[in-house]
Symmetry: C2
Subunit: 766 residues, 2 copies
């Protein structure tokens, strides 16, 4: 057995002395970076950042400039998230304004100033008519073609054709832009961001081209009237801002683990601007997308979301001071008995979520595996054509989905003359105006239209989510839920109205307001549907009440969302985003699911029983030539360093990238290093070697002396726990001190997939 | 070197086979439990739970009864938190009702039905006079003594005396009950709950006696008019419920790590019922108290908080349908310029927080180290006497602190005739009623009284928080902040009113409402003060808008709270709870603070360089006698098992408790085990030993074959990270496979304290 002359050397290191970590800065450039589609090593990155931090702290005493640099470093996290928040706010405002303009373009144009949307056009014209959306400056397409305004079959056909044509044009432009400039800009982006945040590198996914193309195409896709939302993609856009701004601060730009802190904050800002829900955004980041979310990131996310919401508010795109998208103006109490329909909505939401996930994944899988995937443009055009043709005749599908939700969550007041509010009311009596009344013909017709709209939206969304344009899922799901909710709400209202004297409903109807508020049901339904699809809970409830201002309806919302989650989970554990991660085979180690199998590390580690032995490097016998051969013959990302081949006692771990850079560097720049120079990973370089042979190469500095090790008997549940919580890239397996094998994140992911009876080879690596 | 005949034995274990963990159930009782004031081993406890879970899953096929048992087990987490939530709701309702009654008792009594509080008394009497709080049934003390109602010096003196006397009586009773029955019932309990949740055992801290005594004494202490709140202690009460109910479910009751999941949910329920803020409660649990908070716990906490809020709402203690304690009835917009006073309030809140923390800790330290600590009853009586005497003359200190906050956050409407609303208004014109107006004499007087109240509250709270009665900090801090906020708000209002035409204020005043809403400033001030004291951020903002319903004021609240946190942190990093944890020396490894020093594991591990060698056990040479000697001579909590004394290659780790139980058990129950029986921790028991000598004792089953190990070169930042994230109790330190030493959580805490220049011996252990 090799003697260990430097056995006690470790004790010489005392607090404050220069150790391994402090010298990393002097290493050749490139060490510590990652390749594309690689997994990051959180522990190592965090350690690198602390080294950097200590270096700055130490130099602080030297000069005034260093003091400023140190202060800048200390605040750079806050400054960076401030920038990111502001940028996200500006992007969201531009996208909001652009979307409104383009959506209005489907129906008409502002003759004098084509760059104004309908509302602005009429504001500018200053001759707003009764319904505020018709004015002399705004010409609908039939008007522009010389037909009398909207009336008659000819006008209808022209409107219809122009609507479909505009939609097709927008969709074509969107899909072409995505294909040509930024293929990563399609979809919602949330599954990929989850994967990136869990410690995976996808270069270009958060780049400036993705940002620009995604922003533009989002407006186009929404304007095309497709059944998709811009809320999910806004998270992607905000994350792009986060990535871009992080390069201004080397602390974050050059350290992948630290960069993820900024990205977590950015995704909070994304939801914050998408819904005007800063707290909801923070919780969304925490519950849904983030992987590593320490309290410091919580505070920064909060600040980032605040900045974003504030900037967006300054642009005031929602047109009221509340910063609330679907503001509800009622404060009617709800009653215990109403929990039954609320929970029913939760059940429906859960079922709808499960069905949607199942068929959407099936369709996406079919797209991937068949010829359909080769014709993305055709697919988008077909979906767009079908959507346009079917949607136009029904007012509830023709209108923008956010508009629809806004209408559905409202309560019918005396001033509302839409079909949905056509109750047989005594409008002259102010006190009667809000009371429940029998249905008028308008409401009955609206119910039929809503039912058709519901079916259409449910079907088309399955085919829409996944096409190659930016497409979010929040608004379409919420719209479907809101329709179902409103219908059940109207049903409950009539039930209560016709049985006012029944003891169940007595309490509900004996006050001066409506017995049942159908708008509340729409709100609960929207939450339940979104909960079923995404399986969010707390963040969803917070987003919902930030969206609507309905703080007093927390209990109904919570009940419905929780039920939707339970019911959905009963059909299948994963939400839509996890489903897409799995479908695309991203290497994502889910921290929600518990690993409950009885396997142990020895079952998972490589080499397997009949494999050739693990490729290791010894601490003091390998020559430069040997190392280069090892690098050439294998493609492992790192090599354990052992005392000797016979004993296999573990010394440390060296990364392939670092080793190859260091050896190449030494070959080029260090005199006397030749092919048969001995490479020393130990501190102790024997004198005789130096005298007799060629110059030795000392590589202790790139050796990780503190690799995480486990024993072969460690249960895999502990191993998975360690990979999740410590963000490991690999761990070495020992038995009684001897090296037995290695487990990489890839092995863990494969094993987890295998245990779940999934195909382990479907997971995308490198 | 010892040969390793069982080197490959580990490979024989395949998925699903019975391994170490699966047999733990058959071990003698007591193994796997902890002693008082010990640290728990999360990894081990979680592994134990999964073993239990697998055991149930396996037996599920056997019979219908087992199926039911399995379903019960799967749902027991949800059922348990449901019970806990309901129990917390009931406790809170009882405490609320009791507090109101006792508080009213200070001023008078219901003659016909003494068990009714003033409001109920007048409701029952049905002859409510104009201000709803005076009726024939309710007799104030002077009335009861035959004096004409309240008027005159005599009446005033009697009221005064009765007020002070009642306060003293309540306080005495409270402190006596705490001293005699449940010494753990004093204080807010949040620092201790944080410590317990971080994995420490304090037996009895969450027991039934603590629950009962704390509930009763909370009512007494609040009724005594002391400057303390019942919101913090409610978290303790809810946690007691959590602990008690967890014993109904062995899954949680018998597993300390799992129990903490219930306790996290319970603390969310505590805040939920304290403020009627379910979402705020969940976030409080996440941000402030919990240590290990996986998403499953988030969902359960959410459900628990929901159940608690729902039950409390059924009792309706806040007397309105909104479930909102300080409901605000205004929706006035705020203006950009107002951010300046809001941020100023944040700065003041931060400064006040820092000052409060500093002097309160100093005073508490003085109490601990001087004779004062020996006379807790006297201390309480003095504080109570001073509070009573000073508080009575000033209406704003005489009233309950929650009442005060409620008054301060309100806007002055036309129907308000309190001094604070005495503006020179034209009350006949409805449109004018809410407009800003010059101050009346009432407001000026109220300002002076508020200023005095502020000073008094700030001073007395420093001395009150920490006395030996249940005492929360939320309400007193918020009251102080609300007073400061209201004063600044009134100042801003007058500034804006007198400079209405100035271009800064022009926009603010030109609409139909008041220029500035002083109530909003009070709300922001309350949040800022609480933020400065506790350093909460997101959870505080959510609690604030759940408390007030002021959803549109998120940005002002966020700005003030964030500023308060920053300013507070500039003076000292820790919040009041962390300060008290440190003061009391609880072994709490803070997950918020980063460890940034350059020490390595070799610097921290035991044995130190000149210490005697580490006490180890070999795998196959120790006799029962040797083991018993080791147990007798040392007091370590566990012993590493090595291959041999010479090689020191690590085999596993055995806990003292398990070892001593197993050996004692074998001595009693196993035939042939005598003093010189060899103890085998290895799988492989040589045949010759069995034939020649006495019966060997096989203890492989209690050996932890997968202890977490690190190398001696591991930086301490990584070690601290591992202790925090994996919840370790100890880790073994190796060098090239040989065992060098051990690092326990105690060593880590000592080292962290040392690096922060604190006295490492101040930390409480065992």
């Amino acid at each position: 057995m090799t003697s260990l002359p430097h056995f006690n050397v470790s004790f010489s290191s005392s607090p404050g002395s220069t150790n391994l970590m402090d010298t990393l800065e002097d290493l050749p450039p490139g060490i510590g970076q990652y390749d594309d589609f690689h997994t990051i090593d959180w522990l190592r990155d965090i350690a690198r950042d602390r080294t950097r931090h200590r270096h700055i702290q130490k130099k602080r005493q030297e000069s005034c400039f260093e003091k400023v640099k140190s202060a800048h470093d200390a605040w750079s996290g806050w400054v960076c998230v401030l920038f990111v928040g502001c940028a996200a706010g500006v992007c969201a405002a531009i996208i909001d304004i652009g979307t409104t303009w383009m959506s209005d373009l489907k129906e008409g144009i502002c003759v004098d100033a084509f760059w104004l949307n309908r509302e602005q056009c009429c504001w500018a014209a200053n001759d707003t008519l009764l319904d505020q959306l018709t004015c002399s400056q705004w010409h609908s397409w039939p008007q522009l073609f010389g037909l009398p305004s909207d009336s008659g079959a000819g006008g209808y056909i022209i409107s219809y054709l122009m609507y479909v044509a505009c939609a097709l044009a927008c969709a074509t432009l969107a899909v072409m832009l995505v294909r040509v400039f930024a293929p990563y800009a399609c979809g919602s982006g949330i599954p990929e961001i989850k994967t990136i945040l869990s410690g995976f590198i996808i270069r270009g996914y958060l780049g400036k081209w993705t940002l620009i193309i995604k922003s533009v195409c989002m407006m186009l896709a929404v304007s095309a009237g497709l059944s998709l939302g811009k809320e999910g993609p806004l998270v992607h856009v905000a994350s792009c801002c986060g990535n871009i701004f992080s390069y201004l601060f080397p602390k974050y730009g050059k350290n992948e683990a630290k960069k993820r802190e900024i990205l977590s904050a950015a995704s909070a800002a994304g939801v914050s601007v998408a819904f005007g829900a800063p707290i909801g955004g923070v919780l969304f980041s925490l519950e849904e997308v983030s992987y590593y979310f320490p309290l410091k990131t919580l505070w920064r996310s909060f600040f980032c979301a605040l900045a974003a919401a504030f900037v967006l508010r300054s642009f005031n795109p929602f047109g009221n001071d509340h910063l609330v998208m679907f503001y509800i103006d009622y404060h009617n109490p709800w009653y215990l008995i109403e929990l039954i329909p609320f929970i029913l909505l939760g059940v429906l939401g859960g079922i709808w979520g499960a069905v949607f996930i199942k068929y959407n994944l099936k369709w996406c899988h079919y797209r991937k595996s068949s010829n359909l995937g080769k014709y993305p443009i055709t697919e988008v055009l077909i979906v767009c054509l079908v959507t346009g043709i079917v949607a136009y005749p029904n007012p509830y599908t023709r209108m923008n989905a956010s508009e629809l939700i806004k209408v559905l969550v409202k309560q019918c007041g005396p001033e509302d003359d839409i079909a949905l509010c056509d109750y047989q009311r005594n409008l002259t009596d102010v006190n009667e105006a809000f009371k429940s009344s029998p249905l008028g013909p308008g409401v009955v017709a609206a119910m039929w239209q809503l039912a058709l709209a519901l079916i259409f939206k449910m079907v088309i969304t399955i085919f829409t989510f996944g096409i190659k344009v930016p497409a979010g899922l929040f608004i379409p799901s919420m719209a479907a839920g809101a329709i179902a909710g409103r219908m059940i709400g109207v049903g409950m209202e009539q039930l209560a109205f016709y049985h006012q004297d029944h003891h169940i409903f007595k309490e509900m109807c004996n006050e001066g307001h409506t017995c049942v508020t159908p708008g509340l049901y729409a709100m609960v339904g929207a939450a339940a549907a979104l909960g079923g699809v995404t399986r969010m809970t707390v963040s969803l409830v917070v987003i919902m009440f930030e969206l609507t201002g309905g703080l007093q309806y927390i209990v109904p919302l919570m009940a419905a969302v929780m039920t939707a989650k339970w019911v959905g989970d009963a059909f299948g554990r994963e939400g839509i985003y996890d489903g897409h991660i799995l479908l695309n085979g991203y290497p994502f180690l889910d921290s929600k699911e518990e690993f409950t199998h009885t396997t142990i590390a020895a079952d998972v580690m490589r080499p397997r029983r009949n494999d050739p032995p693990l490729c290791v490097v010894t601490q003091d016998t390998y020559t430069v030539d040997d190392i280069e051969m090892v690098l050439r013959d294998t493609d492992h990302n790192g090599f354990p360093v052992v005392v000797s081949h016979e004993s296999q006692y573990l010394v440390g771990f060296v990364l392939r990238r670092d080793l190859s850079i260091a050896v190449g560097n030494a070959r080029k720049n260090q005199d006397g290093v030749v092919s048969n120079s001995v490479v020393y990973f130990s501190n102790h370089v024997p004198v005789n070697t130096v005298v007799g042979g060629p110059e030795p190469l000392k590589l202790r500095r790139i050796l990780d002396m503190a690799p995480i090790t486990i024993t072969d008997q460690t249960p895999m549940e502990t191993v998975v726990e360690m990979f999740r919580k410590l963000g490991l890239r690999q761990t070495l397996v020992t038995h009684n001190g001897r090296l037995l094998g290695i487990i990489t994140k890839k092995d863990v992911l494969r094993h987890v997939a295998q245990m779940k009876n999934q195909d382990p080879d479907s997971i995308l690596f490198n």
